[in-house]
Subunit: 257 residues, 2 copies
Amino acid sequence: MKHISIIGTGNVAFHLSQAILKLDQWKLYQVYGRKPSATQEFKNDLALNDLQTVNDLNALGEVDIILCCISDNAIQEVISKLKLQTTLIAHTSGATALQNTAVNNAVLYPLQSFSKWKELNYQNIPFCIEADSERNLKLIKSLASHISTEVYHINSSQRLQLHLAAVFVNNFTNYMVKIGEDLCQQNNIDSSILQPLIIETFDKLKRMPATEAQTGPAKRQDHQSIEAHFNLLKNTNYQSLYQNISQHILNDYGKKL
Amino acid sequence: MKHISIIGTGNVAFHLSQAILKLDQWKLYQVYGRKPSATQEFKNDLALNDLQTVNDLNALGEVDIILCCISDNAIQEVISKLKLQTTLIAHTSGATALQNTAVNNAVLYPLQSFSKWKELNYQNIPFCIEADSERNLKLIKSLASHISTEVYHINSSQRLQLHLAAVFVNNFTNYMVKIGEDLCQQNNIDSSILQPLIIETFDKLKRMPATEAQTGPAKRQDHQSIEAHFNLLKNTNYQSLYQNISQHILNDYGKKL
């Protein structure tokens, strides 16, 4: 049985704790949060009354792995404060390089969007791992492989690109849907009318690359419809966005004609 | 039993024909295509050897409804050529106003993205209807209600906004995913690693409005990550897009703080 502690009490910490609690081979040992109220809430949310929580980094003991699930700009400082000699310290950030401030360093980046109460199948989440030695890579891989079947050895530079790709795939797609919903609401149309189209859009993406699935006026080089849409948006903030994205699609697919 | 003819042999004509063929109350009577080769292929694709096809608009007989499933810029011309006195002429375009060139006019706009061989559950597709009289509205509503449970009475101006919303929800979301896939490929990462994130992104949108589901650096007003991503994109065409979309999200959510 190997032991894990977690630094952080946010969404990633919550979901990784849940995933670890399902494992026979790994045991959740300590959880660190800055505030007692946060660690207490974390225990409550996980329904783990006897989980050992600490609010002082020095109270974290040597274990096999400590997962540092905190915001990017705090990672370096927190890891540099840990005075552990045998514990592998892994952060979970997509946008942060492998640190070299602990004795043993690794990365365990789950490529997924975590919302606290949204259930996930952890087996399908891609885990991107990296470590400062073969031994540490093997250890972090062992943990990742118990949680998920999708484990990728990805270096810091690739991980940063993946994180950026995730912004497009998740945050920006979501924002496009938000605009669609806004347009409905502004015109007294119940935005739930868009649901079947949203579902179909993403169902198609399970079956083919997005470059093949692309449709619409810009893909068809239909300048008349683009102009009509542009004029329709003249009183909103979305006009420049419509023009910019359409222009990119026109350029991309125009080249291919 | 009521009779329908269809003008057009593209994706919308194909799918609406399939939907109509499932109905007991409506019969597909004639299909018009400009070229004999297109109507022959259409018959083959639907596996309907005995479907009556015509290649001359004047050969279309009086029926209950003719559905005009052709490109937006051909609708007006084609409808004005039809010399039918009792048939309700309905086009299926989101971006085209109700025409007044036939004796009886309607619109039957399916709010969905149609790919020829992608199976769809027609029962769930929202059909937006409009007509030039109460009698014609009732007739087009009767057809729409047999195909789908989701029928909306939407005027031309609302329909145009819906069509525009669909561009954001379908074409632009798809393009965001395309960029994510490109970033993977450019960095020697198998883009299938993005699949679970794509699925989760849209699964969340089934449960909550996009405005609540929004996450990411711009939502968090995290200018440091935005700048890091921006610099990462400096050698690509996507930089302006990243900046533009992030700025919109920053503005939208900044206001709400």
